[in-house]
Symmetry: C2
Subunit: 148 residues, 2 copies
């Protein structure tokens, strides 16, 4: 592969990563602005979608996932969430963003997945789980769920 | 598309789903048998790999992920895990399995992602988070991390 092709490939990847991170921020913007229309637009309408809210069982299928977000965004007690340390990883037409969610009451670790559809990145998976132990503070065993 | 092609496509998808679910079971087999060699073989060596153990921050990169599994599998106090309600979702060469993990101390919701590499499915992501509330028992708000 020529240097030019490598350069093009790297530029494409950087653009893709920027676009995926922007889609991820759109998700948190919709969350914080209680914008159900934007939230519904963020999720894929064609690929299978999955969602695991913190502490909940897994939801599969657009109807159940969107319904859960309508309930969350319609609840005035729902927290505001700040996303930071967001990193994107590309697998051709699928991308994963990992980030931390900062809430008033604690921190969550979130994994958000996107699929490329007609040039835009649409969400197919969200999972947020409580952050209790940072690596380096206790890596000898798998924390038991009873600790949470 | 002819009926034959539709039939072939469906058969291929079913075969892929079977293969992905089998790779997912291999992961839990390696976990329960404390088989570090099998665990290392399950994770991709070429694609970016990510892992969120319950309560931990996200690990990114094969070295950190494999090191975490060596620590967990080498710890005699690590729990045994039973996987059930496993469902696979295909996105061309990427697949997601969602399942519940049953431990003596509680239940976790796990998302395991795989990528197709040379005809086999290799793990690229694992996240397990505690299951506190099943949908239908309390869907009005996003549970706060302080509840965990």
């Amino acid at each position: 592969m020529s240097q030019d092709l490598i350069g093009t490939k790297m530029t494409d990847s950087l653009t893709d990563i920027d676009a995926v991170l922007e889609a991820n921020l759109d998700f948190y913007r919709a969350f914080n602005e209680r914008d159900t229309g934007a939230m519904e637009a963020i999720w894929s309408r064609t690929a299978p979608v999955l969602c695991v809210h913190p502490g909940w069982n897994a939801l599969a299928g657009r109807d159940g996932v969107i319904q859960s977000w309508r309930a969350i965004l319609g609840n005035p007690d729902s927290p505001r969430v700040m996303c930071h340390d967001d990193r994107a990883f590309l697998y051709d037409d699928v991308a994963i963003v990992q980030c931390e969610e900062e809430l008033e009451t604690g921190h969550l670790v979130a994994t958000n997945m996107f699929i490329r559809e007609a040039g835009t990145w649409k969400m197919i998976h969200h999972q947020a789980s409580p952050l209790i132990v940072r690596s380096g503070e206790g890596r000898q065993g798998r924390p038991s769920p009873t600790r949470h």
